[in-house]
């Protein structure tokens, strides 16, 4: 199924870009994201726990970025699997600066949902996706405005290794263009992923 949407953030492109490309920020702002890790060139793994109502599930995911056009657009392929099912998403992300100094981010995901969520959750996906995407962008905005970001429940037991981002994390300095892109890709992927998984959780009793 296709999940498309856009979000306008109350900040200029540069600021959105900086915040959005910071994996350490993303790990705190993406609903349910606990950990993401660089595992190779343009290739990342992540852990998301999403729960709606009575059901929480932890999902292991991976994503790969292609077609990089810095500050304009990119494509990513994300996959995740957990007990309630699997999801694969191909996401196009575009950025545009608006005249009033705000920034609009467009995302367009083609997703394949399998397992239990495929059978019982699909028709709920688009509405739940909008809600989860909304939560995500609201959290990003809070970061941009310097407000508090809701922290994850517990810090990682061991100090994270290089390239591993866990929540909550201190805003790590943005070290390279690559890491910026990592953040964007994983963030967008997780939105699609978290969205779908959230939908599942919402429907399962």
């Amino acid at each position: 199924m296709r999940i498309a949407g856009e979000a306008t953030l109350q900040a200029p492109l540069e600021a959105v870009w900086d915040a959005l490309l910071d994996p350490a920020v993303l790990v705190r702002t993406i609903p349910g994201c606990e950990r993401l890790e660089t595992v190779g060139e343009n290739s990342y793994t992540m852990t998301v726990t999403v729960g709606v109502a009575a059901i929480r599930g932890t999902y292991a995911g991976a994503c790969t970025i292609t077609d990089l056009h810095p500050r304009e657009s990119l494509k990513l392929k994300a996959e995740g699997a957990g007990a309630p099912g699997t999801i694969a998403a191909d996401v196009d992300v575009r950025f545009s600066a608006n005249d009033d100094g705000t920034t609009t981010l467009h995302y367009d995901a083609e997703t394949v949902v399998g397992g239990m969520i495929g059978g019982v959750g699909q028709r709920m996906l688009s509405s739940v996706s909008r809600r989860l995407a909304g939560e995500f962008f609201l959290a990003i905005e809070k970061v941009l405005m310097g407000g508090p970001v809701p922290a994850a429940e517990a810090p990682a037991a061991e100090p994270p290794a290089a390239g591993v981002f866990t929540a909550p994390a201190k805003a790590a300095p943005v070290s390279s263009q690559r890491e910026f892109l990592t953040g964007v890709a994983v963030g967008a992927g997780l939105v699609a992923l978290g969205v779908a998984l959230g939908a599942v959780a919402g429907r399962r009793r």
Binding site: A81, V112, G114, R123
Partner: protein
């Protein structure tokens, strides 16, 4: 005199128990057994690159976990292809647990055995499978295009191609004064019984015997499959089918992976093991049916007489073909219905798709065939401007033409020869029952009120009671109680009642004294199964034959005891007496005592049978050609199927605004030969019509392009409620006995559902004046159909 029970509306003896919740289904058995949960593929098509079960083993309460690598011997081979056919050139079956590749979302990949289902499910969630997702083939169009393949080694996704016919249909069509072509589609649906699949197994390591309870339509089939796959002798395995909460065809498919894996685990672990399918599993891992795309070419004369009929159809068999070509063969042969086209040709392709397997569901290919033929009949009537009943009439096989040989081969490999029927009489009854001739005035009246109504009819012939055989064993106990065992299973058909009626009549015993056991291989190891509307015909005939045998033996023993000629005796209410001389005879139970000479006495009755009391001291206590006990055992094996028939008519009202479809009247004329119990037959028809309403107006399997079933729950899969089923169904019976079996029976189990898609299409088309070529039809589809039709009409107007 004992009242004859054959043909009487005897109340079902099983209902009190079932309605009080005293039924015992597989899941009620073996409390405390280990329970399994199955990991199923989330992908419609994928290669399995690795399975990591390590995290599972640490879970407390997990006893075992199995993947393909844990299977050995015959268990590691593909599951059986149950019904091979020469045309099935590319038959494929799955493994009990997937090996290397999965071909539908829901295919079993791994199984966890644990102390409880909760633990098992939690453990299944920890299994990590590394899949390489492959592009799936979903839907008949994609399968036909063959750009992607379900099985790499099956070109064009074609499992089978079969052509049959008689005469040169194409030449006949070319030469016919009128010709029409129709393109038709029918959606998928499924049996959806209340109780899903379920299996319990108990291995006795001391006696090396396996006892299996399964919710199946064939205990003997499951028994043979289990023994073969687990390398056991048939004598080591018994299969019992307890109460079954509905089958409707899906449970004749066997062995299911779990039916083998559960006994395998029970043997390995030395503890009883249970599998209970949940509803979602039933949607994605049991079988579906119905999906076909059809093309009809027909040539006919001015009266609508079929001069040539050529049908080509494409049958979606899902990912594998364990049940062979039964469904499309039935479509291709039963399509003919009560008609006799001068020349007929049918060709089908059975195609693989990455979806759940397709095996018979109540009707088993007939609903699709009847739909194709009846749509054609309506199209001819519309083309010629004739009444739809007239076009059918001119094509009917006439009563004096039986036995009627179509020159084709039926699903049982036997010639397609109809044994009896009276189709013109059936049609007359139907017209009277539904008020066919009065309908036009009703339509005018309704039109005056701004209402839109339509009437439709559909005729079918159903080959029932296919062989090869069924048997019955009857034992009269010394108490006079009669114990009957039949081999096939029962899942709500009222077998205990109907077969007790037959025994009561044939043996002359009180109905209450007869007890019928079914589906227990310990009691009747030779049987085929309950499908194809065959139980009444097959087991009913066998029961009658076995009862006659028992009666013969009883009369022989009684004649000796009473010093009378056998011919002078009769059995009334369990007493054998000289005809017309009440009070002179002996009880059947006493005859049972006499039939079994004993050394040991246990009670007053058996004292009468000890060796100092009975028998001629100069002869062996049991004669050379005799056996102890008052028993009868016989098998019925028919030359070929017997053909029941019927006709349905429905009056519908379609809402001019919302396109809601409402049933105003539903009428059924039904001919299943002699009736054993009209109440049970009517119950079968009611149930069938209800299921047919679902298939015609509500149910479909909503697969997305990725092969994910989107409506795998009763929240999303629409089944008719009592509110959607017609409040009353008018039924009239015609009884043309079958000459093929001792009681003149024909099957009745599937009849109610067979013409549903056809009859609703006919009525909706009549109400709307728009050709209906795809079923089922929902209000939104009808709404869309109206818009398309209006659009086309507007365009046509613009052009002219």
């Amino acid at each position: 005199m004992t009242t004859k029970l054959m043909g009487e509306k005897v109340r079902r003896v099983e209902d009190a128990r079932l309605l009080r919740g005293e039924g015992r289904y597989v899941d009620d058995l073996a409390p405390g057994a280990l329970e399994v949960a199955v990991l199923r593929s989330p992908h419609a098509h994928a290669r399995i690159k690795g399975i990591d079960v390590d995290p599972v083993l640490d879970v407390e309460g997990v006893v075992a976990v199995y993947t393909y690598d844990d299977l050995s011997g015959p268990m590691a081979e593909p599951l059986p292809l149950l019904i091979p056919h020469p045309a099935l050139t590319h038959g494929r079956t799955q493994y009990a647990l997937a090996k290397d590749e999965v071909n539908y979302a829901g295919e079993a990949v791994a199984m966890v055995v644990a102390e409880s289902r909760y633990v098992a499910e939690d453990a299944v969630a920890l299994i990590r499978v590394d899949y390489e997702v492959l592009p799936p083939v979903v839907g008949i169009d994609a399968a036909r295009r063959g750009e992607r393949l379900v099985h790499e080694d099956v070109p064009g996704n074609v499992a089978a191609r079969l052509e049959q016919g008689s005469g040169d249909a194409e030449a006949a069509i070319a030469a016919a004064p009128h010709r029409l072509s129709l393109d038709l589609t029918v959606e998928r649906s499924a049996s959806t019984p209340m109780e899903g699949r379920g299996t319990v197994a108990r291995w006795d390591p001391d006696t090396k015997r396996l006892l299996v309870w399964s919710s199946t339509q064939t205990s003997t089939g499951v028994r043979a499959a289990v023994a073969t796959k687990l390398g056991l002798g048939l004598g080591q395995v018994d299969v019992i089918t307890p109460d079954v909460g509905g089958g409707f065809g899906v449970k004749i498919m066997h062995p299911w992976p779990e039916e083998l894996l559960v006994p395998m685990a029970a043997m390995a672990l030395g503890r009883p093991v249970k599998f209970t399918e949940d509803r979602r599993e039933h949607f994605i891992s049991s079988a579906h049916e119905r999906g076909q795309v059809q093309h009809v070419d027909v040539g006919f004369d001015e009266d609508g007489r079929l001069l040539g009929l050529s049908v080509e159809f494409w049958h979606d068999n899902g990912a594998y073909t364990p049940y062979g070509l039964i469904v499309p063969i039935i479509t291709s042969t039963q399509l003919l219905g009560p008609y006799k086209p001068r020349a007929y040709k049918v060709v089908f392709e059975s195609l693989y798709t990455n979806t759940v397997i397709v095996t018979p569901y109540r009707g088993a290919g007939r609903p699709q065939g009847v739909y194709a033929m009846e749509r054609t009949m309506d199209a001819i009537a519309a083309y010629l401007g004739k009444d739809r009943t007239e076009v059918r009439s001119v094509n009917f096989i006439q009563p004096d033409e039986f036995p009627y040989d179509h020159g084709m081969t039926f699903q049982d490999g036997r010639p397609l020869i109809y044994d009896s029927g009276d189709y013109p009489a059936s049609l007359e009854k139907l017209k009277a029952l539904v008020g066919w001739d009065e309908f036009e005035s009703f339509r005018q009246e309704a039109r005056g009120e701004g209402r839109r109504v339509g009437i439709g009819l559909a005729c079918y012939v159903e080959g029932t009671g296919v062989g090869p055989y069924e048997g019955a064993h009857i034992n009269v106990e010394t108490t006079g109680k009669v114990k009957v065992a039949i081999g096939l299973t029962t899942q709500g058909q009222g077998h205990q009642t109907a077969f007790a009626q037959i025994v009561a009549d044939e043996l002359g015993v009180p109905f209450e004294d007869v007890e019928v056991t079914s589906g227990d291989t310990r009691r009747m190891p030779y049987a085929v199964g309950t499908f194809a509307s065959r139980a009444a015909v097959m087991s009913g005939s066998a029961v009658a034959l076995a009862a006659r045998q028992t009666r013969t033996k009883a009369l022989r023993i009684a004649a000796e005891a009473l010093e009378a000629a056998e011919d002078d005796l009769e059995i009334v209410d369990g007493q054998i007496r000289v005809k017309g001389a009440p009070g002179t005879g002996i009880a059947l139970g006493t005859v049972a005592v006499l039939s079994n000479p004993l050394r040991y006495a246990f009670d007053e009755a058996s004292k009468l049978a000890t060796q100092f009391v009975v028998g001629d001291p100069t002869k062996p206590p049991v004669a050379e050609d005799d056996e102890p006990g008052l028993e009868g055992k016989d098998f019925y094996s028919p030359e070929r199927s017997t053909f029941a028939n019927g006709m349905h008519a429905v009056i519908v009202e379609t809402d001019p605004e919302t396109a809601e479809i409402k049933i105003l009247k539903y009428a059924v004329v039904h001919d299943c030969g002699n009736l054993i119990n009209p109440m049970i037959v009517e119950g079968q028809i009611h149930g069938g019509v209800a299921q047919g309403v679902g298939g015609a107006l509500y149910e479909r399997m909503a697969y997305d392009a990725n092969g994910q079933l989107l409506n795998a729950s009763f929240m999303d899969f629409l089944m008719p409620y009592a509110t959607e089923v017609p409040e009353s169904i008018d039924i009239d019976h015609l009884e043309t006995p079958s000459p093929l079996n001792p009681l003149g029976l024909k099957g009745a189990g599937e009849a109610g559902v067979i013409p549903s898609a056809a009859v609703f299409a006919s009525a909706i088309e009549d109400a709307e004046g728009i050709p209906v070529r795809a079923m089922p039809i929902s209000p939104s589809e009808l709404f869309e159909l109206r818009r398309t039709h209006q659009h086309e009409a507007d365009q046509h107007e613009e052009q002219s």
